[in-house]
Symmetry: C2
Subunit: 222 residues, 2 copies
């Protein structure tokens, strides 16, 4: 297979599923692990990406696509750490779609190991849109409450990974980790669950090791 040195995803008439499949093929053929981050607003997606940036520095190359309704704020936070980042502003739309990602992809370097896509902060609508990711990561922060999986089931049912974020705030809120984990697993027994604090660093090593393992599987097939 010959690989051009830019991503080529020109057919904007593709359906979301077709566009997502094309993105996944293109990324995986290059050994890139694409991760779609999904959560409520303020559950800590960007802060987790900042922490991952620090942990991956010198060990892997990464890029970030940020989705927001308005503002470049999240992309600026990532760029401030020396990582290339592109902001998609949806102008009102409540989720990213694969075609939005496809339009940005030709700008993204092809020699990266990880492509993180931070979705619009919304625990509902993004769950319906495949972006071509290999891993869908849903974050649930401890201040949000342990009752959320069954109230917002699709995000948890369609994810590969659950990050129980902001674990450092648990002493100050009512959040039962085992209850949240069990409820999420009842919706999706295959979920990989990590209890993480981007502030204290809890759980980050395990999450990074997992990301490297999945990336290694993709690279081995590429």
């Amino acid at each position: 297979m010959t690989k051009k040195d830019v991503f080529v995803l020109q057919d904007i008439l593709l359906s979301n599923a077709q566009a997502a499949a094309a993105i996944r093929r293109e990324l995986e053929s290059r050994g890139i692990l694409a991760v779609n981050l999904l959560s409520s607003p303020g559950a800590g997606k960007t802060t987790l990406l900042e922490a991952l940036t620090d942990r991956l520095k010198g060990r892997a190359r990464m890029a970030v696509i940020e989705g927001d309704i308005e503002t470049e704020r999240d992309a600026e936070r990532i760029r401030a750490r020396g990582v290339p980042a592109w902001q998609i502003t949806t102008g009102g739309a409540c989720h990213l779609e694969a075609k939005m990602v496809g339009k940005v992809l030709p700008s993204v370097p092809t020699d990266i190991d990880f492509l993180f896509i931070e979705n619009v902060g919304n625990l509902v609508c993004p769950a319906g849109y495949d972006l071509g990711e290999r891993l869908r990561v849903v974050l649930l922060s401890s201040p949000e409450g342990d009752d959320k999986p069954k109230k917002y089931p699709k995000a948890f049912a369609t994810a590969n990974v659950l990050v129980l974020s902001k674990s450092d705030l648990r002493p100050h809120v009512s959040f039962d980790v085992e209850k949240a984990r069990a409820e999420a697993l009842s919706l999706n027994p295959k979920l990989e669950v990590f209890v993480v604090s981007s502030v204290t660093g809890e759980g980050l090593d395990d999450l990074v090791a997992f990301l490297f393992r999945v990336r290694g599987e993709i690279a081995a097939r590429a």
Copy 2:
């Protein structure tokens, strides 16, 4: 004006705007203040309603309509405090619509003072749907971060009231009240802003006094 003793909103073919207008007319003709609560998942809408239930007990009659994608959990929490509550489960839809409220309304007692409608936890989509409320209250909790108003502008631009919730967690998170307030007011200079903790009670008296004042204005015109 004669008032039947049940709400009558039968025409399910009305547009959302028409249905909302009919609901508003019907409620306000009875002197009822309708409040639409809108926020991210886990920003504290139900907990605020529980706190308001306690504060209004013996002073006013209230009812609650709960919106969720799945589960009766929130309605059960309200009923446990002796307040009538109806659960609308949207079965996947990311927001309430006026017609959903209109279908529940015939079950709601007509001799109440306050009707609280808790929307699906979503800071994006519910902002586009008038439910017939007189007051739209958006909650922003301190763990979510003070950068949210401009990232999710429609919710803040269309609300009447901003509740900066979970103020008790401020010592443990990075949240600048004045920055959040100023940014929200830049989107919507008419916002009434309350800094509230449903745990410590901070700000609840002011919020309740405001609700009684608006309810009094409606009752005076009914």
